[in-house]
């Protein structure tokens, strides 16, 4: 029997999201009738390359490092309440993630839990690095002949639906489109056909609205005096109520802060959208240009009018290559005449870097004037007026492949302690291993997603 309403909640919108946000979502879902799902979206573009590195060091790793902190608090309650879990926290090792979940299930007394693994996104399993390099880049840097660290296609919702159809309680995916985490359960519950573009569009839009967690329920939204949000510290994560005709209501977990309004939904609807008529996913091309957003109750917003066009013949894939090192170093100058001392510190550094003779790009900021809004080569303090007295902080940032050069650039900031202008203090530095990414398009026929279940003792 086809259910009338499917309830889907979101427990995380990115890999560093709040670890306790899912608890009230699960408490709310548990009270609902009918099919219930909880999703976690934890895989940003470059997260997978970092995960691949972990897996190379230890073959049992490579799944999301946050998996346990998300799953442990809610697994038993989900299991008892019939809430199925769907997530891409498999990252570079979905099977490893599934094994970890099985361990947690055993420890928390969840018996007979069925954990499915969706694989097939890893291009390095089906083609050579050279084949991957030969694909033209549609976004990001040219791959060139750089070694491919990771290359993963964005799978669609069908294999997730298949896993659920076969009885999975938990579905662990590697790389898939974010909306597929929501569309998969809807396809399973409503038996939406592969070419029912308007329904697939509605389900994809539901996924797009949920995939960033609190970003649709008042988080990343507050602007005091303009857009006030109650109890932001305990912002409730979203739930969607979806009907078989694609009707969609966005709401949030009970007894939480935040809000769901036309404004919060509109901001998230357009988040990371380019052409509103052509949002490409593996399952459908979503057109949100005619969408309407209506408040239908307290913290309840109906979203309607999504249109769909036939899915593309290609799948997007993210390719990661080594990006060298990024160096960042900072020093503070405060009190009388601080801005002049900060500027002198930068002049000293520029002279020192000329003497070192590096070709790496180096950016200088004075935090406390304009920084993130200024351009790489913009001299803010000469074009704008800032108080000479103040509490300023210089920042130097650079990147390149020779670690020792990056370390030397940072070290010059450290040496301002004894060799720079008066009273520099609070030196900090970072040296970060960089990954570069590029997007390519891969023939859909080459990608064969596989659904397996974790079997045997773990």
């Amino acid at each position: 029997m086809v259910s009338s309403v499917v309830h889907i909640g979101c427990g995380a919108g990115f890999s560093g999201d709040r670890v306790d946000a899912a608890i009230p979502v699960v408490a709310t879902l548990a009270k609902k009738e009918g099919p219930k799902y909880l999703i976690f979206e934890t895989l940003a573009e470059r997260t997978l390359a970092l995960a691949q590195k972990h897996r190379r060091k230890d073959p049992s790793h490579g799944y999301s490092p946050f998996l346990e902190s998300y799953i442990r608090p809610i697994l038993k309650k989900c299991h008892e309440s019939g809430i199925k879990i769907v997530s891409n926290f498999g990252a570079a090792n979905p099977k490893g993630g599934a094994i970890k979940i099985a361990e947690i299930a055993k420890e928390t007394g969840c018996n007979d839990i069925k954990i499915a693994i969706v694989e097939g996104d890893d291009l390095l399993q089906i083609m050579s690095g050279a084949d991957i390099q030969n694909h033209p880049t549609i976004e990001g840097l040219d791959i060139g002949d750089n070694e491919v660290l990771a290359a993963n296609a964005y799978l669609g919702a069908r294999p997730i639906a298949e896993a659920l159809q076969k009885g999975a309680d938990v579905v662990v995916v590697g790389r898939c489109t974010d909306p597929a985490l929501v569309l998969g359960p809807l396809i399973k519950e409503f038996s939406w056909a592969e070419n029912d573009w308007s329904k697939l569009a509605a389900g994809t839009m539901a996924g797009h609205l949920l995939e960033c967690g609190g970003q649709v329920t008042g988080a990343y939204f507050a602007d005091p005096g303009y857009k006030d949000v109650p109890n932001l510290a305990n912002v409730g994560f979203p739930l969607a109520e979806v009907k078989s005709d694609g009707t969609l209501i966005i709401t949030k977990a009970e007894n939480t802060g935040g809000l769901v309004s036309a404004q919060t939904v509109k901001e998230q609807l357009l988040y990371e959208i380019h052409d509103p008529e052509n949002y490409y996913t593996a399952d459908v091309i979503l057109d949100i240009s005619k969408v309407e957003v209506t408040e239908v109750g307290l913290d309840r917003v109906e979203v309607s009018g999504a249109n769909g066009k036939p899915r593309p013949d290609t799948l997007k894939a993210t390719v990661s290559i080594d990006g060298g090192w990024m160096g960042e170093a900072e020093m503070s100058y405060a009190g009388p005449n601080a801005l002049k001392r900060a500027r002198l510190a930068i002049d000293v550094l520029k002279s020192r870097y000329r003497d070192i003779g590096t070709n790496y790009p180096i950016r200088f900021d004075i935090l406390g004037t304009m920084s993130v809004h200024s351009g790489d080569n913009e001299d803010i303090t000469s074009s704008h007026s800032y108080p000479e007295d103040g509490d300023y902080r210089i920042r130097v940032a650079t990147c390149g492949h020779e670690k020792e050069v990056i370390e030397r650039i940072n070290q010059e900031v450290l040496s301002l302690y004894c060799s720079g202008p008066a009273a520099g203090g609070g030196f900090r530095q970072h040296l970060t291993d960089q990954v570069q990414t590029a997007s390519i398009l891969v023939d859909r026929e080459k990608i064969r997603p596989k659904v397996n279940f974790l079997t045997g003792n773990v």
Partner: protein, 118 residues
């Protein structure tokens, strides 16, 4: 409509959110009062937005119109100084750029502007 016109920052009449893909940013612009939408259409043009972001390397701005919401969506090419994996800017995603767009000045009929303040 009132004849009186006020010169205000977009921040007074609209809200915005920025997202990133590669070296490209998109920024939504959503009026608090739907009646302001036509003012945004007239005055927040691709050319003005490109001019605002040029110092950060922006090479092209495409504006998409969503009259049903109503909202505008600006796609700004090459504005992220390399994007999340290579920008030297502290804000590698360009998350803060939405509030840079909101510094743009527009002329608004005083009665529409005051609606929002109520």
């Amino acid at each position: 409509m009132s004849k009186q016109v006020e010169n205000v920052r977009l921040h007074e009449i609209a809200h915005a959110r920025a997202g990133d893909k590669g070296n490209r940013s998109n920024i939504s612009l959503i009026p608090y009062n739907p009646a302001i939408y036509d003012c945004l259409l007239d005055q927040v043009t691709e050319a003005r937005v490109l001019d605002l972001f040029k110092k950060k390397g922006a090479s092209k701005v495409t504006r998409y119109e969503l009259p049903n919401l109503p909202a505008l969506n600006f796609v700004i090419d090459d504005v992220l100084e390399g994007g999340v994996n290579s920008a030297l800017n502290l804000d590698q995603h360009g998350k803060t750029l939405s509030f840079f767009l909101l510094t743009l000045l527009v002329k608004v009929p005083a009665d529409l502007y005051k609606d929002k303040k109520n």
